[in-house]
Each structure stands twice: as C-alpha cells, then as structure tokens.
Amino acid sequence: MNLHEYQARTLFRAAGIPMPDGDVATTPSEAETIARRLGGTTVIKAQVHAGGRGKAGGVKLAGTPGEAGEAAEKILGMTIKGLVVQRVLVVPAAEIASEAYVGLIMDRATQRPVLMVSAAGGIDIEEVAARTPEKIARLGVDPRYGLLPHQALGLAFFLYRDVAQARAAARIMEQLYQVFTANGCSLAEINPLVTTPEGRVLALDAKLSVDDNELDRRPDLALLRDESAEEPSEVQARRANLTFIKLEGNVGCVVNGAGLAMATMDLVKYYGGEPANFLDIGGSSNPDKVVNALRIITSDRNVKAILFNIFGGITRTDDVANGIKTALAQFPVQVPIVVRLTGTNEAAAVSILQGIGMTALSDMDEAVQKVVAMVQEAA
C-alpha cells in the first residue's frame, strides 16, 4: 500500500526527520489559510499515487497566500495518470543548495533492507541507476543488528564532505530505517534530501510503501488507506476478500490461486483474447466470494464473457458451482459464462451446474478457447 506524501511526512516527522512545516488541504481556501500561516513562498503539491507530478503540472510555486489558493484551485480536481487529485500539500518553498537521494527498499535478492543514496537527487533514481550507476552507493542492512552508526556515516560521507552535514544525513538515514522497520515498509524514500544555503540538511519529499501483509496487525496503518484514490471495483473486491485487478480487456476471469489466475489470463491472450481482470478467489471456497466476484466482474461494461477456471484442491468445486447458482438467482448476468472446474467434489459441482442448465468443462485449454471464441463472435 502506497502512502500519500502528506501521510508519509507525518511518520517521518514523528521519527525526527527534519522536514519543513506544512499541511494538507482539500479546498483552495484551506490551502490559502495554510500558506498564510506558513508565510513566504509556498509549494502546492498534488497528493496522488503517481510519479512525475511535477511534469504533469501537479506541483506549483505560490508567492502569496492568494496565489497558493489559486494554485490549489488549479491542481485540485486535475487528473494525473488517471487519478483525480483530491488533496494538495502546502509547504514552504525551501532554498536549495544541493539535492540528494536517500531510499530504503526491501531487497528480494539479499533478503534484507537495502539503503541506497545518491548525490544525484531530485530525479528518478531508476534513471540514475540506469545512466550513472556509479553515482549510487548501496548498503544491505543486517536486520539482526539494524543500521549501524558507521554504516550510515559512511554513506553520508558519500553524499557530503562536510562532517556536520554528513552527521545530519547519517542521523536522517537512521531515522528513515526506523520508520521503514517500525511500519513494515517495502519502500521508504527521501527525494530530494536537500542542503540549504545555511548548511542545514532537510527532507523535502516523503515516500512510503507499506507491505500489505502488515495491515492486519497494524490498524493504524490500515486507516491510512485512501480508497478514493483507487479503482472502485478493486476497493469492492478487497472488502469481499478477493484479490482483483482491473484490466482493459473483455474476458472476465474468475480463478482460484494467483499463479493459475495469471496463467489463465496468459492463455486467454495466447488464444487471441484480452483478459478484463485478474481475480483470485483464494483458497477457501465460500460461495459468497463467487457471488461477489460475479457482481464485480459484471459491473464492468467491457466484459463480454466470463471464464471460471477452478482447480479444486482446498477449494471445493461444488462451493463454486453453488456460488454461480446463487449469483444467477440474485442478479441477471447478461454475458455468457464458461466454467472449467476439476478436482475436489467435481461430480457434485457438475450436477449443480446442470441443474441450472449449465455445463462444465474439465480442461483449461478447451475452456479458454471456448470463451475467446464467444467474445470474438460477440464482436
């Protein structure tokens, strides 16, 4: 789960990371009030889960409170990479002497957090990594010991020659590591970390991604989820305990298991179709999940046919069949449904489906070919 900048700021500041004051606004007049309180020139920043806000016009400078309100007026409601801006962050404009990058990611290869720093800050770190990898220093942190002082200081000297600045940056790295581990993050980033003309070291941006698996035990973090920034069908799916991702195609897919779900989408594509979604109903086969899955998929106008691909292991295929039966009784499904199921309680499932006039296939390839053909006919 990605946090908004203004949310990440709160966690950063609580950990002691020096950042300029500031606040979030949902209306131009709020933005104006905040800018008045801050005084001087302010920066108005769109709060959306998308990179490249600046290029998209989502970051503006304002010389006066009035200008801040005007800037907020322009940015609020703007669409950046498909996301509507609903909040802006108002912060004082800082004078900048240098810009650096400091980030922590959970590294799969070394199975530990990796701290990355670069004196080339303010720009996309992936770009720096691709073009000038020598400008990035990396350090794997042993989670049994945490980020040790000399490690942070060593990286800080990679950024700054001045010892006071290096010590300040090292301290910020230690604080960032605390934020990262204390909140179960997969990413924690400061870009840019700046020095001011007076020599202070400040974090001007805050980016955090929290491991979704943390949220069950961390209601405080779960509360930070901004569902207004998400695809409504995905929110609906999550509430129904389904893993759902909307795509642009027209073949709705209902599958049990993430790997099989991806393989099913791939096979749809292989046979010339386009999947409308990724949907994993998970291991336990509550008929309600199937009902919810059908409700979500059928609400997508693009969907021209629906494919069930169920390999019954823990999942009982009769539960899935019952789910389909219940759904069809509850609401009309206007598109054809192709069901492939095999495994646990297959015979019972087939007979349930026959009872409502449906047939079930047992072969995945056959089912995918069939559903793709249906969609192509419909077109």
């Binding site: 943390e214 991806m262 292991g313 823990i314 495994g343 995945m364």
Partner: protein, 297 residues
C-alpha cells in the same frame, strides 16, 4: 529417493487444532504421511483424530516423539513465531503454509533458520509431496503419482494444473515442491534445482515461475552452469501490468524488471524448454526425457 521429504519424515503440525491445520492434517494422515505430533498451546495432552498427540510446544513434541520436520498452519500474526520455534527445536525441515506473513518478520526469521541449518520452505506455499511417501502441506495427493520428474513452483493451483497434466499422461513425480509466492522465502528455485540435480531418483525438472524479482533469472544461470538434467519451464504473468501485485506478494513487476519476457529469455538462454501453455508440459517433458541418457551439453 526424493528431496526434502520422504518415508523417514516425522512431522509435527503447528496449529493442528485450527481450521486449516485440522483439515490438512487429516489429509496428510490419509495420504500416509508420518504425522507424529501436533502443537497447539493449551491443548497439550489431547489427541488429534484419536491418534496424534498434541503438545503445548514444539520442543516438547520433538522430545517426546522424535519429530524431524514441521508444517505450519497458524495465522499470519503468529507464523514468524512458529518458524522461530520450529527452528529452535532443531527441526531440519520447516514448511510454512501460512499466507500473509509480514515480510519484515521474514528478514529476521530467515537468518535465524539458516544459523540453525534448517531448511524452510515458504511461507505462503502449498508445501511438498513425494508421491507415495509423504505429503507435507496442502498439495492434493490424488493428482500426483510416483515417478521421476521433479517439480518446483512458486504457485499452488498452477502446480496442481501442471502435475495433473503429467499424472494423467502417465508421467509420475519424484517430489513436487511449492516454494511459495512471497518476495522473501526460505527456499529458492536454485535450492530445489541443486537438490533435484543431486537426487538419483529425479531424471528431469519442471520449474514453474512467475513475474517479479530475479529468482528465475538466477535459476536459469544456475541451470546453465550446474544442472545436467533436462529442465522444462513456465512463466506465469505475461499479461500482468507493471506495478501491480498479482495476488502473490512477490508477483509484481517493478519498473522494467521482473517481467515474464525477461524471464522467458533467461530460460531459453539456459537451454530450458519453455512451455507456452501449461498443457505443453507433457509434450516437452516427453521429448526431453527421451534424450535423458545423454548430458545436456
């Protein structure tokens, strides 16, 4: 022969009285797995299914029953604790089925398990099955058959799909291992490839990968350098969009890395026969098995 689990496996089930634990323990017992003990704190002294003694702690279970392996079916919040406990009790094989274990927990579990020389499979995995000998986890026993193909996979039901294809075509398996879909896990493709390579009862290896990370690319390099047995591979997620977690915590394309295309290219460069569809597995395995007697290079 087999890898990781066999007739000698003496299994303790952590979370044996829970919903998932009790269901799958029954299935494992039915399959003939050597389930010697269960653990649920506070239920020590009871018996599960009238036969399996239940203990309060894994240490007690090991002391009383000589268990040498554990399978974990406890909720995510307690899963790391269960892995620590199993490793601390000296078990050499630990299979964690639990889905949703916080990754930060795994950063501490993994070094702990390694310091004790244990093999951890998972978390968020279906476990392993050595057909005809033992099943540790949740892979349905009825779709497997004894044989000489080793299978390793990051996913659950996709594994079943492929195993089912093999079994229906008369191709049995030495061991099937699901290493799990999480970004940080105990056993990698390479660990399994190495074990299959060394296992005299395995003639060919099927490897089912997916998008996200570089485990498949590393495995491909390992295959090229150290595996002489034929390998057949698959990558799920060719149609997955970047930046989205495709169900598995580990199945996410970050920037331009971890794509299916990248992984398929790595497989092909390593001489791995790549399936285009799960159904291709039978034909590719048959073709490669026909040439088993000669070394790949």
């Amino acid at each position: 022969m087999s890898i990781f689990g066999n007739r000698e496996t003496r299994l303790v089930v952590q979370g044996i009285t829970g919903r998932d634990g009790s269901f799958h323990t029954r299935q494992m017992l039915e399959y003939g797995t050597g389930v010697v003990a269960g653990v649920t704190p506070g239920k020590g002294g009871q018996r599960f299914a009238d036969t399996v003694p239940v203990f309060n702690t894994v240490a007690e279970a090991v002391r009383e029953t000589g268990a040498n392996a554990a399978v974990i079916y406890v909720p995510p919040v307690g899963a790391a604790g269960a892995m620590f406990e199993a490793a601390d009790a000296g078990l050499s094989l630990i299979v964690c089925i639990t889905e949703g274990v916080p990754v930060m927990d795994m950063t501490r579990v993994l070094p702990y398990v390694r310091e004790r020389g244990a093999r951890l499979i998972g978390p968020n995995c279906p476990g392993l099955i050595t057909p005809g000998e033992c099943k540790v986890g949740i892979i349905p026993g009825n779709i497997c058959a004894p044989g000489r193909v080793g299978l390793v996979s990051r996913s659950g039901t996709l594994t079943y799909e492929v195993v089912n294809q093999l079994t229906r075509s008369g191709i049995g398996q030495s061991t099937c291992v699901g290493i799990g879909g999480d970004p940080l896990n105990g056993t990698s493709f390479i660990d399994c490839l190495r074990a299959f390579q060394e296992d005299p009862s395995t003639d060919l290896i099927v490897m089912l990968g997916e998008i996200g990370g570089t485990d498949e690319q590393n495995a491909a390099r390992f295959v090229r350098e150290q595996v002489t047995k034929p390998v057949v591979g698959f990558i799920a997620g060719q149609t997955a969009p970047p930046g989205r977690r495709m169900g598995h915590a580990g199945a996410i394309i970050s920037g331009s890395s971890g794509t299916a295309a990248e992984k398929i290219a790595a497989f092909e460069a390593a001489g791995i026969a790549v399936m285009k569809r799960p159904a291709d597995v039978v034909e590719l395995v048959r073709a490669r098995l026909a040439g088993t007697t000669r070394m790949k290079r």
